[in-house]
C-alpha cells in the first residue's frame, strides 16, 4: 500500500478547466471519498491519478514515486468503474485472471489467487459465467475481484454503486467498507451520493468546479461545513438557508428571514463576525434535525405554520412556513400535525451556522 499526493494539479479539456490547482494527500490505508455534483472534476482527478488522463500542470506521487510520466499499466493501481467494464468476451474467471496474466504469473499461482479472491467475495459459483449472464450485483463483485486479485498499491473506485438498486447498494456499501478495512487498502472513492461519502469515507473531499471546497472527516464536513456549498450538499434534507442581517452593539442580534425572527448572538460569535465578515449580508443555516417543534408557544420559540408534512416512517419531515420562507424540520414519527396547524420551533443555538453571503465561506 502507499499514500497518494497531488500537488498543484491542473487539467484542461480544450478551453474547459476540469481541475484547477488541486492539492491533496491521501494517507496510507485511508479511505478517501471525492464528493461533488457531476462536472465538479472528481472523476477527472481520479483518472489523472490512474494515468488515464495526463494533467497539464502539477505533480502526482504514489508513495515516493512521481508518476506523471508513467503509463497506467506500470502505476500498480486498480480501478473499479461505474459500468464495471468487465470484458464481455471473457468469463468471470478470465476477467479476474486477466491482470495476473499481464504479470506473467504461473498458471497454478493465478488459479490459487483467483480462487482465493472468489471465496472472499462469495462468487466461486459464478466463475465460469460471462458478464452478460451475471446480475448487476454479481458483476460488481467480479469487478471488485479483478481489482483485488493483484494487491495493488492503491484502489480507485468511480461511482461503483451507482448502478445497483437501493437495497443492494446499502448492502454493498457496508461490505465495501468492511473489505477496505480488512485489506487495509489505500482507496480513493468517487461519488455524488453524500450518504455513501458519509458512511464509507475516513475523510471526504467535497469538490466543486474543479477545486476542493473542504476536506475533512465525515463529522467535520457535516457539523462544521466550511462553505455554503458544502453545507447544502452534505445532508438530507439539505440544510435550511435563510437570509440574515447582523446588528452589532452591547447585545448583538441576528435578524433572520427578512425580520421573521431575531436571535441573540453570543459574544465570541459576535467577535468572529467582526473578524471574518466582508459585508453586512449573511446566510443563516440550520439543519432540519436541529430544530425542536412545540405545539405551545414559549420563550425563544418562533411561530410557524405547517405547509406540508412528509411521514417517512422513521421520522416525520415538516415544511414550515415562516414569513415568506419555508423551513424543513425533522421530528419523531409520533409527532403528528395537519396542514395549516400552528407550530412553534426552537433552533438549537449550538448547531446554528452563519455564512458570509458574498464569499459563501462559513463564519461559524
Amino acid at each position: 500500500m502507499a499514500n497518494v499526493t497531488v500537488e498543484k494539479m491542473t487539467k484542461r479539456f480544450g478551453d474547459v478547466v476540469a481541475v484547477r490547482d488541486l492539492d491533496l494527500r491521501v494517507e496510507d490505508h485511508e479511505f478517501m471519498v471525492f464528493l461533488g455534483p457531476s462536472g465538479c472534476g472528481k472523476t477527472t482527478t481520479l483518472r489523472c491519478i490512474s494515468g488515464l488522463e495526463r494533467p497539464e500542470q502539477g505533480t502526482i506521487r504514489i508513495g515516493d514515486v512521481v508518476v506523471n510520466r508513467m503509463s497506467p499499466a506500470v502505476r500498480d493501481i486498480a480501478m473499479v468503474f461505474q459500468f464495471y467494464a468487465l470484458y464481455p468476451h471473457k468469463t468471470a474467471y478470465e476477467n479476474i485472471a486477466f491482470p495476473l496474466q499481464a504479470r506473467r504469473l504461473p498458471r497454478d499461482e493465478i488459479e490459487r489467487r483467483v480462487t482465493d479472491v472468489a471465496r472472499v467475495l462469495h462468487i466461486e459459483h459464478l466463475l465460469q459465467r460471462r458478464p452478460r449472464q451475471l446480475s448487476g450485483g454479481e458483476q460488481q463483485r467480479v469487478a471488485l475481484g479483478r481489482a483485488m486479485v493483484r494487491r495493488p498499491k492503491v484502489f480507485l473506485m468511480d461511482e461503483p454503486l451507482t448502478n445497483l438498486d437501493a437495497k443492494l447498494r446499502s448492502e454493498m456499501r457496508a461490505e465495501l467498507k468492511r473489505l477496505q478495512k480488512d485489506l487495509n487498502a489505500t482507496t480513493v472513492y468517487v461519488t455524488h451520493d453524500q450518504v455513501e461519502a458519509m458512511s464509507m469515507g475516513d475523510r471526504i473531499a467535497v469538490m466543486r468546479q474543479g477545486q476542493i471546497e473542504q476536506i475533512g472527516t465525515p463529522d467535520e464536513v457535516y457539523n462544521h461545513p466550511a462553505s455554503l456549498f458544502v453545507a447544502g450538499f452534505v445532508g438530507s434534507p439539505a440544510m435550511n438557508f435563510l437570509p440574515a442581517a447582523y446588528r452589532d452593539g452591547a447585545s448583538p442580534t441576528l435578524t433572520v428571514a427578512d425580520g421573521a425572527f431575531t436571535l441573540p448572538v453570543e459574544p465570541e460569535w459576535a467577535q468572529r463576525i467582526r473578524e471574518r465578515a466582508t459585508g453586512s449580508s449573511f446566510t443563516f443555516g440550520i439543519r432540519s434535525e436541529d430544530i425542536a417543534l412545540y405545539t405551545e408557544p414559549g420563550a425563544d420559540r418562533i411561530a410557524s405554520e405547517v405547509y406540508v408534512m412528509e411521514p417517512l416512517g422513521d421520522v416525520n419531515l415538516f415544511d414550515l412556513r415562516v414569513g415568506g420562507h419555508i423551513i424543513k424540520a425533522k421530528t419523531l414519527p409520533n409527532f403528528q400535525l395537519r396542514i395549516g396547524d400552528q407550530v412553534w420551533m426552537a433552533p438549537d443555538h449550538a448547531k446554528m451556522h452563519l455564512f458570509d453571503a458574498q464569499t459563501e465561506r462559513a463564519i461559524f
Binding site: S50, L52, P72, A73, R75, F83, A85, Y87, P88, R150
Partner: protein, 292 residues
C-alpha cells in the same frame, strides 16, 4: 396496442407474404442465371422461357470453363477461367484484408484519441468517396502506366484498397464508438500497454463490425469491372468480371450458357463468405441501433 389474436395472425401473414414476394423478385435473376448455366446453347436462346423441369440439365458448360472437355472450346483454353478466378481471389481478398486492417487501426485511433482537426480529417476521408471512381480513371491509368502498376495483382489490389479504405474507416469508427472505452481503460490498468489492450479487449468485441465491413469491401472489389478492364487486360492479372465481358465479344456469337456458368461460379465465393459470417453480419449492420 391491444390487438386481437386474429389481427396479429393476419398481420404476420401479410408481412410474410410481402417478404416472400420481395425475395422472389430479387432472387429471380440468380435463379435464371443458374438455370442458364445448365442449358445448351439452343436452350438458352429458346423463344419460350424454359424453367426448371422443362429441359434436361447438363454440366457441359462447367466442364468447358474448367478445361475438362477435350481440346479448344468456346470457353477458351483449358484453365483460362481458373486462372482468372485465382487472380480475382488474390486481388479482391488481398485488398479486403489490407483495407480492413489499415481502416480498422485508423478508425480506432479516430475513435479513441484526441486528435487536432479530427472532424476535418474524417470529412476529408469521406470526401474521397464523393465522386464516382470512374471519374478519375484517366489520371489513375496514366499514373499506373508510369509506375508500371498496370497488369499486376498488386496495382489493382492497391487501387481497391484505396477505394474501400474510407468506407472501412467510417464503418469501424462507428463500431469503436459503440464499444465503451472503459474496456480499454480497464485493460491498461490491469497492466497492458495501450496497443495490447486494443488487441486483447477491444478487437474481440469488434468482430461483428469487422465481418460486416469485410463483406461489403469484398463485394465491391470482387465485382469491380471498369478499372479491372482498363488496367488489367492481360491474362497474367485479369480478373473474372473483365474476362467474362471479353467472352461476350466473340465472332461466333455469344455462348450464354458458358457465361452463365462462369458467373455462377463467380458468385459462389462471396455467397459462401457472406453465409459464413451471416450471424455477425446481422449484428454488424444493426449495431448501434440500440443504445446500451
Amino acid at each position: 396496442m391491444y390487438d386481437s389474436t386474429s389481427t396479429r395472425v393476419l398481420r404476420g401473414t401479410l408481412i410474410g407474404l410481402g417478404l416472400l414476394l420481395a425475395a422472389l423478385f430479387f432472387l429471380f435473376p440468380i435463379y435464371w442465371l443458374v438455370l442458364a448455366s445448365f442449358k445448351t446453347k439452343a436452350e438458352v436462346i429458346s423463344p419460350t422461357p424454359l424453367h426448371l423441369g422443362m429441359f434436361t440439365p447438363h454440366l457441359d458448360n462447367f466442364r468447358d470453363i474448367f478445361g475438362l472437355s477435350s481440346g479448344q472450346t468456346e470457353a477458351g483454353t483449358p484453365r483460362e477461367y481458373l486462372g482468372r478466378l485465382i487472380n480475382s481471389i488474390i486481388i479482391a481478398g488481398g485488398s479486403t484484408v489490407a483495407a480492413v486492417l489499415l481502416g480498422t487501426l485508423t478508425a480506432w485511433a479516430m475513435a479513441r484519441f484526441r486528435i487536432p482537426g479530427k472532424s476535418d480529417i474524417m470529412f476529408y476521408i469521406l470526401s474521397t468517396r464523393m465522386l464516382p471512381p470512374v471519374v478519375i480513371i484517366i489520371p489513375v491509368f496514366l499514373m499506373y502506366t508510369r509506375l508500371g502498376l498496370t497488369q499486376s495483382h498488386f496495382g489493382l489490389a492497391l487501387l481497391y484498397t484505396t477505394i474501400n479504405l474510407p468506407f472501412v474507416v467510417w464503418m469501424m469508427k462507428g463500431f469503436f464508438d459503440e464499444i465503451p472505452h472503459e474496456y480499454e481503460d480497464a485493460a491498461m490498468l490491469d497492466g497492458y500497454p495501450r496497443l495490447q489492450a486494443f488487441f486483447k479487449v477491444t478487437l474481440p468485441n469488434a468482430w461483428p463490425g469487422i465481418a460486416a465491413t469485410a463483406v461489403f469491401c469484398l463485394i465491391v472489389a470482387w465485382n469491380e469491372y471498369t478499372f479491372a478492364f482498363i488496367l488489367n487486360s492481360d491474362p497474367v492479372a485479369q480478373t473474372v468480371p473483365s474476362f467474362i465481358a471479353s467472352k461476350s465479344q466473340t465472332s461466333a456469337g455469344i455462348n450464354w450458357g458458358v457465361i452463365a456458368a462462369m458467373s455462377t461460379v463467380f458468385v459462389l465465393p462471396v455467397f459462401i463468405f457472406t453465409f459464413l459470417v451471416r450471424n455477425h453480419l446481422l449484428r454488424g449492420v444493426t449495431f448501434g441501433a440500440v443504445r446500451r
